[in-house]
């Protein structure tokens, strides 16, 4: 085996032969945050307060204080986030192995189905059909569910009705199959969670959280620009903040795509 040429890799980035796509939403106060019944604890939304902006509080410098929950904006869920993953080793963002922070991605395009049905569920047959075209999902890959949800405005993005949010996601069988049969690194969505909006009514409730984190796998949510990734062949860089015993973290997610 020949030596790995990181120089060639770097050169390809500089030459634009590898495009780096930002899969991240801007962290902003108006971006919807997960909502729980008010008697539960709530995530702090994103808050940005200016310390100084070239003014009496700091004549030559501008900086902000920020407040935010671990699960705001484009963010990663670590296994410890869910009760099923609470006793696993290295289950928080500070102990997450760095090799899990860069991984290939399989992008499953569900945008047409999601546009037709906000409660669309990705099932095993659809994943098998995807494999028939694009090949078997390799172990250690991210599986990213493209729904074009990131293109929606805040109201349609949250899509909350009197019976809770209506957003697409995987069904329980699909997640279990990806974890147990394909050994994926994690599952990523454009919606506010890895589970469908109505996932609380599934068996088990919130199956993506249940199975992914129970098996030490990760979740990525509120992703953007998935339409710019090819079905296979891209590389995702997703390195969370090193928060002590953190259950998740907002992060910059990059998609590397070869342009030739």
């Amino acid at each position: 085996m020949s030596a790995i040429d990181l120089g060639a890799f770097a050169a390809a980035i500089i030459q634009g032969e590898i495009e780096i796509i930002d899969l991240t939403h801007t962290l902003a106060p108006e971006f919807p945050t997960i909502v729980l019944p008010p008697e539960f604890g709530q995530s702090s939304p994103v808050r940005i307060e200016t310390i100084s902006r070239y003014d009496a509080d700091g004549p030559a410098w501008y900086w902000n204080n920020i407040t935010l929950g671990e699960h705001t904006g484009t963010h990663l869920d670590a296994p410890v986030h869910w009760v099923t993953g609470k006793d696993l080793p290295d289950n928080s963002v500070d102990t997450m192995p760095t090799r899990s922070m860069i991984a290939p991605a399989c992008v499953v395009d569900c945008s047409a189905q999601a546009a037709a049905d906000a409660d669309f569920l990705l099932g095993v047959p659809a994943l098998q059909a995807w494999e028939a075209t694009h090949g078997t999902i390799a172990g250690g890959s991210w599986v990213l569910m493209r729904t074009d949800w990131s293109k929606r405005g805040p109201i349609a993005f949250a899509n909350i009705g009197p019976d809770g949010p209506h957003t697409p996601g995987p069904d329980a069988d699909a997640i279990r199959w990806l974890v147990e049969e394909r050994g994926v690194l994690g599952f990523g969505t454009e919606t506010i969670g890895t589970d469908a909006g109505q996932g609380g009514h599934f068996n088990p409730p919130y199956p993506a959280h249940h199975y992914l984190h129970g098996a030490g796998r990760y979740g990525l949510q509120c992703l953007a620009n998935l339409d710019r990734l090819p079905p296979t062949g891209s590389l995702v860089v997703a390195a969370p903040l090193k928060i002590r015993r953190g259950s998740g973290s907002p992060l910059r997610v990059l998609g590397l795509v070869a342009t030739r």
């Binding site: 106060p29 108006e30 919807p32 909502v35 604890g41 709530q42 939304p45 808050r47 940005i48 307060e49 200016t50 805040p154 109201i155 993005f157 949250a158 909350i160 009705g161 009197p162």
Partner: protein, 412 residues
């Protein structure tokens, strides 16, 4: 009879906005004995328990018997005008801005003769109902009203200087999601506002279609998230110069005290809304409102805080909530002093538990949001500063005046 107030014209952009000229504010300490009653809309004067004499203006000792043990007590408000005049060229800039200004001497049935501001419908020799109002400097001033209601009585220009009627004014309700906010919308529309801005944060959270009559003329829903600095600043940049009355209807009610909380989240969330949110509003909207205190008949006049009566004494069952309310009250006191130079009246409306989801476990009496809204509008019309709505609030206030330590123990 008063002339009905016409809807104010749009501003002439070439004309300098009149600056609020502060009223003469210095008063002897004894005068402020009358301030509390005036703030609540009661007509109270000093009375000498030794000789029974009713005294005005306020003294340190009874002018009749020299007893220093004067009390302030509600007294009959009837009287007759014995002299009246119009001051056409007053010396003080505040009154010059408003001349001619009618004043008169009213002989009160309870004894003293008072130099008072006169309502336009009060003629020489006529019977009047005397009130004590807080003027724009926050000091008590005698204001004579017609004995019985007259047509368009509220529209009298001199009375409007001592009140904060919503009629033809533009009102910002900061949170249209709360029950109080929604009730306030209806009450303000009934009060004849020219424009109603209703703040709505997190627009992606649904709101029942009939919650706010947003299709009504003059009603406009505006984005406002009191937790977000930029959101508050952005709205003030858009409409800050058009808010004549601000009503802060935001609330964050959670049960519980300190010891049994698992973390500080509820306390922080509560303070974020009630304390930090109020401070953000003050920073963003305060300067423009303070500068517009003399800006025509739809000038900036009032800032209303809806507070719990447990701002005055902690109710440990809702201990964190009470703490946030106490902090908000303290902020409101600072705000009152800071806005006074503009003649903006800061009105604190104290109520007991509302008839809402967070107090569902409590038996009546509870304050219906519609009652809270109605009393708020009434307080603005009367020019009050401190308002107690509902039996619980009135009871707590009375008991605090009697024995605050006992109330603390009884609540906990």
């Amino acid at each position: 009879m008063s002339r009905e107030l016409a809807p104010p014209p749009r501003r002439n952009p070439l004309v300098r906005t009149p600056l609020p000229q502060p009223m003469p504010a210095f008063r002897a300490r004894a005068t402020h004995a009358l301030t509390a009653a005036a703030a609540e809309g009661r007509f109270a004067l000093q009375r000498c328990p030794a000789c029974g004499r009713v005294i005005y203006p306020a003294h340190d000792a009874c002018p009749g018997c020299l007893s220093p043990a004067l009390v302030v007590a509600d007294v009959p408000s009837g009287g007759r005008i014995v002299a009246e005049t119009s001051v056409r060229a007053p010396l003080h800039p505040h009154f010059r801005q408003r001349s001619a200004w009618r004043i008169g001497i009213v002989h009160l049935d309870c004894g003293p003769s008072i130099v008072a501001h006169l309502h336009g419908d009060c003629g020489d020799g006529e019977r009047v109902r005397m009130t004590m109002k807080l003027d724009k400097a926050g000091t008590p001033a005698a204001f004579a009203l017609p004995e019985t209601e007259t047509p368009h009585m509220q529209d009298d220009p001199q009375l409007r200087e001592f009140t904060a009627s919503p009629k033809h004014r533009r009102v910002l309700i900061t949170d249209g999601r709360t029950a109080a906010g929604q009730a306030m919308v209806r009450a303000m529309i009934e009060a004849g506002v020219a424009k109603l801005f209703i703040g709505l944060g997190e627009p992606w959270k649904p709101l029942a279609e009939d919650a706010i009559p947003s299709a009504l003329k003059g009603v406009e829903i505006v984005p406002l998230d009191l937790g977000d600095d930029a959101s508050v600043r952005d709205l003030a940049a858009d409409i800050g110069g058009k808010v004549d009355i601000l009503v802060n209807t935001a609330e964050h009610i959670r049960p519980g005290g300190l010891v049994d909380q698992r973390n500080g989240q509820a306390l922080r969330d509560g303070f974020e809304t009630t304390v930090m949110g109020l401070a953000r509003l003050a920073r963003a909207f305060g300067p423009a409102m303070r500068s517009r205190g003399a800006d025509g008949t739809d000038n900036a006049v009032a800032w209303v805080n809806l507070l719990s009566v447990y701002a005055l004494v902690n109710w440990p069952e809702f201990g964190l909530y009470s703490a946030g309310q106490a902090a908000a009250l303290s902020i409101a006191q600072s705000l009152r002093a800071e806005l006074r130079p503009g003649g903006i009246r800061v009105v604190n409306v104290f109520s007991g538990p509302g008839d809402t989801e967070w107090f569902q476990h409590l038996p009546p009496p509870k304050v219906a949001p519609a009652v809270l809204a109605r009393e708020t509008v009434a307080a603005l019309r009367e020019g009050l500063e401190d308002v107690y709505v509902g039996e619980i609030a009135k009871d707590i206030k009375a008991r605090l005046e009697d024995n605050p330590k006992a109330v603390e123990r009884e609540l906990g």
